[in-house]
Symmetry: C2
Subunit: 346 residues, 2 copies
């Protein structure tokens, strides 16, 4: 049972793809039907999350990676989708400009499709809408899906959980103080990229990252340094030889215009991503991450559905009465919740 | 009907306060009882949100503000609570160290209470736990509650929504590229602070902020510049004379140790905060923000309660069966949600 829209997407129709993405993003009935029909065809794409602070050159790097997969030094060109998510700007649609700049850069290549999303009301909504868009691209036969997010907070963590492979981007000269915030985001990195590596200070940035990695992965540090703890740690972690140690890769992205630098490190980064994919497949983690992703997505959607159903059973008058009791401090928030929820069951 | 724990909090017992905060943060039955009993006593404190990127000196500024309210140049000393929230670090309890440094700085003053929270599983949980802690402090008679968050993403927006007055902190030399992310957070600022104003580049930072403010508030720009649009904009917005134009304040926080700089601008910042409070009271927005805050909090709690109730009605076997159908792509996420939710009603 396939909707005609979904059928057109499966046949490679770009207009149908664009329409489906819009309908899915709007969570319309047409979008839901299409997604139901497309979902059995998902599970093949390699989902790559790319995150890092503003100013690290994420978008240029994502563009270079897209080119890399299109030129594909080994084997045939891969089809690439880019989903750019901007959760840091809840008020303005900042993603639009980025889209236009990209259009110019990768325009006219039918093997590339770019979609950007600005933030919406709730963060949960954003992560689940992103998940749905990724599924459409996956079913449509894109081999590589690059999911790019701005910033370094919980929102990015929620979104990069969608990915098989997560790249965290750094750049020289972003300030030592910024390190504090990175400690958390580092722990989700599969590959660390020092972008803008032609700038001064690249050694310092790389050293700082290595230091933080050693803090985050003390086991690996002890392995590398052959410390006295080696026997203990190896005994404690029999699977340690299967573990992935996040590598650090320097890159330079070409600036446009005359006198610009040549891109560097992109092919090596592509090789690291391929090696990570192989690691995921061999260790069984590819399947684990797929399950975790679907589980997280399912819980978000259940939450949304429960709230929607509750709201549909609640009259405005009932809500207003209880809310006014709360505002005038006659009942506490917890008491208000109990009343509101039990009202649904009656 | 007051729990004995709540009674002790209302009587100013610090040990009872500490215990209540822990119980409330853990959402234990004892914590819920205490919060139900304390809630009628809330609604008096001035909630001040403080946010900004790492490295802007937020914590020092918050400490200086706490001192300011304790020394209170006009009137009697205010009781100050500090709630430091770190949503950027979902994996590590980074808030602990900050606590210790602060203890040293404000230790021994019974009119100051500091509490820090690291992130927990869900973002919603963090914002609603913060809201509950703030209510405990409010009921316990703290006049000023400083809510400090790290970073500049959706998470901070959710948390500063708790506040009456929001300070957004900047510092010179944080890099021009960072401006992009600030556009969103600027729109929630009631007061902009350029901290570390003794550093080079302070003029540039202030100029950049002013430029962004003018972009974010074109009406105010046209008012200041007496542009040709003035008649139109004034006619369109009859309440414009009541509007708050976010001011920019420079500050310097004292470093500890010999040869350190003297703090500057803190008293002026305190005056701006007092003026904003007066604006909120006169415009009726104090009450509006109170309602909005309670509404947001209520919705978060309803969401949590609905999910908990749903989970309690669901057997592990049912969930596992449906989830496996999803993972093997026999059903779509949307179809899984429908089955899971309807299963509850049966």
């Amino acid at each position: 049972m396939t909707s005609s829209l979904a059928q057109a997407v499966l046949e490679g129709n770009r207009l149908a793809l664009a329409r489906t993405l819009t309908q899915v993003e709007n969570d319309s009935p047409e979008g839901r039907d299409a997604l139901n029909a497309l979902f059995p065809y998902t599970g093949h794409a390699h989902l790559i999350g790319v995150t890092g602070a503003p100013g690290t050159g994420k978008s240029s790097l994502v563009n270079q990676l897209a080119r890399h997969y299109r030129q594909s030094p080994e084997g045939e060109p891969q089809r690439v989708a880019i989903v750019a998510v901007d959760p840091s700007s809840p008020f303005t649609g900042g993603a639009i400009l980025g889209d236009r700049i990209r259009m110019r850069d990768l325009a006219g290549d039918p093997g590339v499709f770019i979609r950007s999303m600005a933030s919406r009301g709730s963060l949960g909504g954003l992560a689940s809408a992103t998940a749905s868009l990724v599924q459409v691209f996956d079913a449509a036969g894109f081999d590589i899906i690059l999911i790019e997010t701005v910033g370094a907070g919980q929102s990015e963590v929620d979104i990069v959980r969608l990915a098989h492979t997560t790249l965290v981007i750094e750049a020289p000269g972003m300030g030592d103080d910024i390190q504090a915030i990175k400690a958390g985001i580092l722990e989700i990195a599969d590959i660390l990229v020092v972008n803008k590596a032609d700038r001064p200070g690249v050694e310092n940035t790389e050293r700082a990252l290595r230091g933080m990695l050693e803090l985050a992965h003390p086991l690996k540090r002890s392995e590398r340094h052959h410390s006295r703890l080696e026997e203990i740690t190896v005994a404690d972690t029999p699977k340690s030889n299967k573990e992935w140690i996040p590598p650090i890769q320097r890159t330079v992205c070409a600036a446009s215009g005359p006198g610009s630098t040549q891109p560097a490190g992109i092919n090596d980064l592509g090789k690291l991503i391929a090696r990570h994919r192989q690691h995921l497949k061999e260790s069984g983690e590819w399947h684990t991450r797929d399950r975790d992703r679907l589980q997280a997505e399912l819980m978000l959607m259940v939450q949304e559905a429960l709230v929607n159903r509750w709201q549909s059973h609640l009259t405005d008058q009932t809500y207003a009465r209880i809310f006014n009791d709360l505002v005038s401090r006659r009942i506490s928030p917890h008491q208000a919740v109990v009343t509101l929820i039990n009202g649904e069951i009656e």
